[in-house]
């Protein structure tokens, strides 16, 4: 009864929001609510950054148009953690853009949409000299997810990917130029005018960055979309021997055993645990550290784990499929690591089955 009432109220409230032409204040509230729900976890409650880059930065707000913010939300940054919010409608995205603008009193720019022409080959040379150290060769961006201070980082803010289709669809030539001319205060991105480049050099760089559009490959992160959810294999041994074999194989691959437990341990009294579903946890701390630096959220699938079960006389060995899970993170950097982890799981299982 109570839940019904709550649901009903919720329904009416959401109807009120869904009406076209709602008032300015409700638009603001909606923007704030959507931001809290979809963005704050990464960019911070007030846009100061976290897992994502800071949105409250004054120079950033002065350099990017509402169109840039709108398209960035809509298309995301494929393979670079920032999700595409294609499920949100136009009004919702506009509400979020409005909310993002409250993080700073800076005025949004009036940007020209005109194409900036320049010498691409000179731009390329300059890029390798001045930009690639942070933005990566070919502009694929710095490693990691943003600005998280809670873990050691090479840079306080990770340089965004410039060859990313989400970026290129959002940024106008003028915006890229302004960023290079002015830099972004309080970030590693400095003014290259002040660094001694000429305006012509900067135009050449803009032309080179725009030219990335021509080299859009299939994104890495889509590649694992259709992978099976788990790795699975039948063991020729009995349950206990299989468990011992897995333990030995994992240690042989430089893992440290963490714990062996029944799957439902902690859910039922010890005497009622199901002893034919057993989990073996193991870890390599160097790998764990590397994974958390690429994306702190992957800890959810760690420590490493192999599950051994006996059902109807058959012993099976199972593991999550790291490749399939990598897809969840929209992070190309992680794909490489998860590809390796997938192979390691296979090797351990194969060796245990020998």
């Amino acid at each position: 009864m109570k839940t019904l009432r709550i649901l009903l109220i919720g329904f009416f409230v959401s109807l009120a929001f869904a009406r076209p032409g709602f008032t300015e204040t409700s638009l603001q509230q909606r923007g704030a609510m959507l931001y809290a729900q979809h963005c704050a976890s990464c960019h911070g409650d007030t846009g100061k950054g976290g897992t994502g880059v800071p949105l409250s930065n004054t120079s950033f707000q002065q350099q990017v148009s509402d169109r840039f913010l709108f398209n960035t939300i809509k298309y995301g940054r494929p393979g670079r953690v920032m999700p595409a919010f294609s499920q949100l409608d136009k009004q919702d995205i506009q509400a979020i853009v409005k909310h993002v603008r409250t993080f700073s009193s800076a005025r949004p720019p009036k940007l020209s949409m005109a194409k900036i022409t320049g010498d691409i080959s000179n731009g390329k040379e300059l890029f390798h000299k001045h930009c690639a150290s942070c933005h990566g060769t070919d502009g694929k961006g710095g490693k990691g997810t943003g600005v998280t201070f809670s873990r050691p980082r090479d840079l306080p803010i990770i340089a965004p990917a410039l060859n990313n289709i989400g970026f290129l669809k959002s940024a106008s030539d003028q915006m890229i130029k302004d960023t290079l001319m002015q830099g972004r205060d309080n970030t590693p991105m400095v003014s290259f005018l002040k660094q001694g480049l000429s305006e012509k050099d900067i135009n050449d760089l803009v032309a080179y960055v725009r030219n990335f559009e021509r080299y859009q490959q299939n994104y890495d992160h889509e590649k694992y979309k259709n992978e099976p959810l788990m790795i699975e294999s039948e063991s020729p041994y009995d349950l206990q021997t299989t468990i011992d074999n897995i333990k030995r194989a994992a240690v042989g691959k430089n893992f440290r055993l963490i714990r062996v437990q029944n799957l439902n341990a902690g859910l039922v009294e010890e005497s009622k645990e199901n002893t034919s579903q057993v989990i073996i946890y193991f870890c390599n701390f160097q790998m764990l550290n590397e994974a958390l630096a690429i994306d702190p959220r992957v800890g959810m699938f760690l420590p490493c784990r192999i599950t051994v079960v006996e059902q109807a006389g058959v012993v099976k060995v199972m593991a999550i499929n790291p490749k399939r899970l990598s897809y969840l993170f929209n992070n190309d950097e992680l794909n490489r690591l998860c590809g390796g982890m997938h192979d390691t799981y296979l090797e351990i299982i194969e060796e245990a089955n020998l």
Binding site: I6, L7, I9, G10, F11, V13, S14, A36, Q37, H38, A40, S41, C42, G44, D45, G50, T51, P83, F85, Q87, L88, T148, F149, S150, R151, P152, L229, M230, I231, E232, I258, L263, N264, G266, L267, V268, Q277, C283, F285, Q286, L288, N289, L292, P296, R297, G299, M300, L302, P303, I306, V309, Q311, K316, M318, A319, I320, L325, Y327, L328, F329
Partner: protein, 149 residues
């Protein structure tokens, strides 16, 4: 305050069918890590789950000489459901119990989980229904945490 929270949750739930593109559930909690840790466990229990274990990821890292902030994985489930569904649907075996990762970020705490509906939602009706329930429970947990102060 309480009513407000219910309203908020109800609102999120009514919007839920449209918010499907994010692959991971996440929330920023405006609490220090120890507070958030307590609140999370309490909230999970309120949804009718048993906490089976809290894995301390940070301890091993620190011991091995790596720098890290506080990091835990909280495992939870329901005894009977786990027993029955893992027998019927082996795909759950490597994934169960359910879990939420929780880690500090400055004075805030972040929580994150995979969306069971995206993982198991396109299977047999029984499993799909269970996945739908886990997802909506997780949504309540995440929005409660988001609102907590």
């Amino acid at each position: 305050m309480r009513l407000y929270r219910y309203l908020f949750i109800a609102l999120l739930l009514s919007l839920a069918p449209f918010a499907a593109a994010e692959q991971l559930l996440m929330a920023r909690v405006n609490m220090t890590f120890p507070e958030a840790m307590l609140k999370l466990q309490e909230t999970i229990k309120q949804q009718g789950y048993t906490i089976s274990r809290v894995q301390r990821v940070d301890i091993g890292l620190t011991k091995s000489g790596y720098k890290t902030d506080k990091y835990r994985v909280v495992f939870f489930g329901k005894a009977e459901e786990t027993e029955q569904l893992t027998k019927k649907f082996p795909v759950l075996l490597p994934y169960f119990p359910l879990k939420i990762a929780i880690f500090a970020e400055g004075n805030d705490t972040l929580i994150t989980a995979y969306d069971p509906l995206l993982m198991f939602g396109e299977s047999e009706p029984l499993l799909a229904r269970a996945a739908q329930k886990w997802r909506s429970d997780l949504e309540v947990i995440f929005s409660t945490m988001r609102e907590a102060e």
